[in-house]
């Protein structure tokens, strides 16, 4: 097996294995384990892991102010700065908020994406030209996936509240606006599947991406695909007792867990995969979600020259002080007419 095959196989086998574990477990009447113990454990790992990471990042010092300056810096008052400049090279913390908001909510940096191709060009002596296209597909795929995921998670909140909050119900109605299927078909279900397939497909289609993609990259994709497909199957094809599911979840939320009858194994598989995702999150690249807030190239203002940044571990270093330098070159400097602190004769007398 080559590198890519090995990494895909392991990731795929892991997800299929997890599905089998949950399915077999529930068949073996381990509902309590998969319906109560594992969810609590997963939540614990999720929060413990995230908090641990975030604290570790937050406590590590930021020795230097190193924003990636992607626009004209604030200099003389008349030098033109567009709104883009102000956001991409923020002059103050307030503008940093704007930059971060754009980054987190709109994936600003990814929106900048280009694709460079080497194309033959007989007019150039080297017979080739690099062409730099604007390339928004990755941005589109990423933003579609993340927002669809977010809306789906929010929609699921209806299982966590009794009665269902109005805003959540409304969100479900909007998502299900296109009623061409019974029950109401959610647009986000289609979007997230397409986005996931795109994100997976690009990793497989591009040789260089294939080269860098690890099992730990395929695994969350397969895992989320597993979650999404079990969810879709449950909603549209193999229905489970929704009232019982809500009872189970409300039991978990109110810390009075119950295992109602009539919940299909498919649900437990769905729930188990969600738990694995939660538990896996803090130990994996999924940390990019909290991590982006800490990125020193994005969350610092480009005000280096007018606001002092203090490095908490700044220490004195050995450098070559001027007087040593003059001692080294005094005669020659004097002869060349370069001013000196001590004239050669005085220096000699002092030495004696």
């Amino acid at each position: 097996m080559n590198f890519t095959q090995r990494h895909i196989t392991v990731a795929l086998a892991a997800v299929l294995g997890l599905i089998a574990v949950a399915y077999v477990g529930v068949q073996g009447n381990l509902q309590l384990l998969f319906g109560v113990v594992v969810p609590y454990l997963a939540l614990l790992l999720f929060f413990e892991g995230i908090i641990y990471r975030v604290i570790k990042w937050a406590r590590s010092p930021v020795p230097f102010k190193i924003p990636t300056t992607a626009g004209q810096v604030k200099s003389l008052p008349w030098v033109p700065r567009t709104l883009g400049d102000k956001l991409d090279n923020p002059e103050s913390k307030a503008w940093v908020l704007g930059r971060m908001a754009l980054e987190v909510l709109a994936f600003r940096s990814l929106f900048r994406n280009t694709r460079t191709e080497l194309v033959p060009d007989p007019k150039f002596p080297e017979k080739a030209r690099l062409v730099h296209w604007s390339y928004k597909w990755l941005w589109l795929g990423a933003i579609a996936f993340h927002y669809a995921f977010l809306i789906i998670v929010l929609r699921h909140l209806r299982f966590f509240f009794e009665p269902t909050p109005h805003a959540i119900a409304l969100l479900g109605e909007i998502d299900g606006f296109w009623q061409f299927f019974i029950p109401t078909f959610y647009l986000t279900d289609i979007i997230i599947v397409l986005a996931l397939l795109y994100l997976l497909g690009r990793r497989l289609a591009n040789a260089n991406l294939r080269y860098i993609t690890l099992a730990s990259d395929y695994f969350p994709l397969f895992l989320i695909l597993g979650i999404v497909s079990t969810g879709i199957l449950m909603r549209y094809f193999f229905k489970t007792d929704i009232t019982a599911v809500k009872q189970l979840i409300m039991g978990l939320v109110s810390l009075k867990p119950v295992i109602p009858a009539g919940i299909s194994p498919l649900f437990y598989v769905h729930l188990f995969l969600v738990c694995v995702l939660l538990a896996y999150f803090p130990y994996s690249k999924l940390l990019h979600a909290p991590g982006v807030f800490f990125s020193p190239t994005r969350n610092l203002p480009g005000d280096n020259r007018w606001a002092l940044h203090v490095n908490p571990w700044n220490y004195p270093v050995k450098f070559h002080p001027y007087m040593e330098y003059e001692d080294q070159f005094r005669d020659a400097m004097y002869e060349a007419g370069i001013p000196v602190e001590k004239e050669p004769e005085t220096a000699e007398v002092e030495e004696e």
């Binding site: 030098v79 990814l110 002596p125 080269y211 690249k285 990125s295 020193p296 080294q328 370069i338």
Partner: protein
């Protein structure tokens, strides 16, 4: 070694090897790497493990406990730099950075995709500092640290010019430059350094500039350029050295007085300062604006940079003016006051003695960029210019990676260009190759040596290719820049890829255009090339 022809080098193969990246080892082919540092330089600056060793040889003679040193060094840096820890933790390998790197575009080597270059370091972090990496190994990209890994780090960390183009496109702002710098620090901790960078560092530390000029040699070089000014313009441009009580200390990289075409920019500075009757001085001690130390380690950067404030205090100047230089300004902007640890109170907030403009944007740093200074003069109509003296020049502007993504100075040089060039003589390169998206010259960060010329030409290919485009399309014959390293490296690059185009600093163009009272009739530019309408031949195509 023989350099392949441009046509051969431009046939880049972007197909990755069949075997996984952990199994593929670098091919130390002459032309692709820099020579090992001579022990002499390390001794000069008290750097660890000075020894005679060679990259091409199998045995790099690492210290016995090299592994321990590297892992401890990594642990130490993880504790000191949030950037390193975070960048190791959060990369999702989306590959947005991949075709943004000039070294990847020029070599096609997948380990030059920033994502994978970072993975070379990250794999060791995962193996030794994360539980999941210890448990799952290769599946999560973790691997053991061995000598081959060290060699790989050396090869690829010196195929990164810390230009930050990747960090611009990264959705989380992961900056390869940070990892390259810290990785190089770790290499230096076991005595692995490149000669080109360390020679410059040691010379600068000891004598005052990268080129190792003694005070008297420095003075000779500058005085010679002042005489050149007088010969060409009839104007004396006197220079003072180490003069106490001057208002302004002027600091510029040695590239500006060491070799053409940087020297023409220096002549421009001298003309400009004379025109303004500025009260300024050079220092033979803080004679280097550039900072190869920072290419080696944060600490070494500070050890060299410290001289500038030290000298400003000794000379009792009011503020510092900095010449055209990329990495000098990245260092000055990102690190200088932080290294110093406090506001340098012995200096004053810079005020232009000509226009009265207070440089509020430098009120902590106390150092002004020559382009800001000049743009302010033009804004206030303080310079009499004859743009026709640059009529032989059709210009495009190369935004230097450091001033672009490590500072953000884009408009000032363009404003100056507008004033010193005749209308219609300025052409931008394609939008995805300029400003914040600019391509590096391919030889920055201490790798502008001679022995790695093939690599340099590959790394500079994207830049040169965009220059080729505007040359073919608009007849551009000059590439302007505000970076002395560019002026040292781009002529070589363009000589190879676009020999029709020459490199110029922006202040050189100012020097050409400045109209003095009492000047002699100007028949040539500062390079002794005939001006348009003078003599029989129209300038521009002529070589100096």
């Amino acid at each position: 070694m023989s350099l392949p022809k441009p046509e051969e080098l431009a046939r880049v193969n972007y197909q990755p090897p069949a075997r996984g990246w952990m199994e593929v080892k670098p091919d130390f082919r002459p032309g692709t790497y820099c020579n090992a540092a001579s022990p002499k330089w390390l001794e000069w600056i008290d750097y660890p493990y000075p020894r005679q060793w060679s990259v091409a040889e199998e045995d790099w003679q690492l210290p016995e406990n090299w592994k321990e040193i590297v892992l401890e060094g990594m642990e130490d840096r993880l504790a000191r730099f949030r950037s390193l820890k975070l960048f190791f933790d959060i990369c999702v390998r989306c590959g947005a950075c991949a075709d943004k790197c000039h070294f990847f575009l020029g070599t096609g080597d997948p380990k030059n995709m920033p994502v994978l270059r970072a993975e070379l370091l990250r794999s060791v972090y995962k193996r030794y500092f994360t539980r999941i990496g210890k448990a799952l190994g290769e599946l999560v990209g973790a691997r053991d640290l061995d000598e081959k890994v060290i060699k790989e780090w050396f090869f690829y960390l010196y195929q990164c010019t810390i230009c930050r183009r990747c960090s611009l496109f990264c959705p989380y702002g992961i900056d390869m430059a940070e990892m390259t710098l810290l990785g190089r620090e770790m290499l230096a901790s076991i005595g692995i350094n490149i000669d080109w960078a360390m020679a410059s560092v040691a010379q600068c530390y000891d004598k005052g500039s990268h080129i190792g000029a003694t005070p008297q040699a420095f003075k000779d070089m500058i005085d010679f350029l002042a005489e050149e000014n007088e010969r060409i313009t009839g104007i004396k441009t006197p220079v003072s050295y180490n003069r106490k009580g001057a208002e302004i200390l002027f600091v510029t990289p040695s590239g500006d007085y060491f070799a053409d075409p940087g020297t023409f920019t220096l002549m421009g500075y001298l003309l400009l300062f004379t025109y303004l009757d500025l009260d300024w001085t050079f220092s033979t001690y803080a004679a280097e604006g550039g900072n190869f130390g920072w290419f080696v380690s944060h600490e070494m950067g500070k050890r060299l940079n410290a001289k500038i404030y030290h000298e400003a205090e000794r000379l009792k100047v009011k503020w510092i003016l900095g010449g055209e230089c990329g990495h000098m300004w990245r260092v000055c902007n990102q690190y200088m006051p932080t290294w110093f640890g406090q506001v340098p109170s012995f200096l004053e907030v810079p005020v232009s003695p000509v226009t009265g403009t207070v440089f509020e944007n430098a009120r902590v740093h106390k150092m002004v960029h020559i382009s800001e200074f000049t743009a302010d003069l033009l804004r206030h109509n303080k310079l009499k210019l004859d743009p026709q003296r640059n009529a032989h020049i059709k210009l495009t502007f190369h935004d230097s990676c450091n001033t672009s993504r490590g500072m953000g100075i884009f408009e000032e040089p363009r404003y100056i260009i507008q004033h010193v060039l005749p209308e219609g003589h300025f052409f931008e390169m394609p939008p995805n190759t300029i400003r914040e998206k600019t391509f590096c010259c391919g030889s920055s960060s201490g790798i502008n040596a001679n022995e790695n010329m093939e690599l340099r030409m590959q790394g500079g290919f994207p830049r040169a290719n965009a220059v080729r485009y505007v040359h073919e399309r608009y007849g551009v014959n000059h590439l302007g820049c505000i970076c002395a390293l560019d002026r040292a490296t781009l002529p070589t690059l363009l000589q190879y890829w676009v020999p029709e185009v020459e490199v110029t600093g922006i202040t050189e163009l100012v020097g050409n255009a400045l109209v003095f009272e009492g000047e002699i009739e100007r028949t040539t530019d500062l390079r002794d090339r005939d001006l348009v309408g003078v003599g029989e031949q129209e300038g521009g195509e002529e070589e100096e």
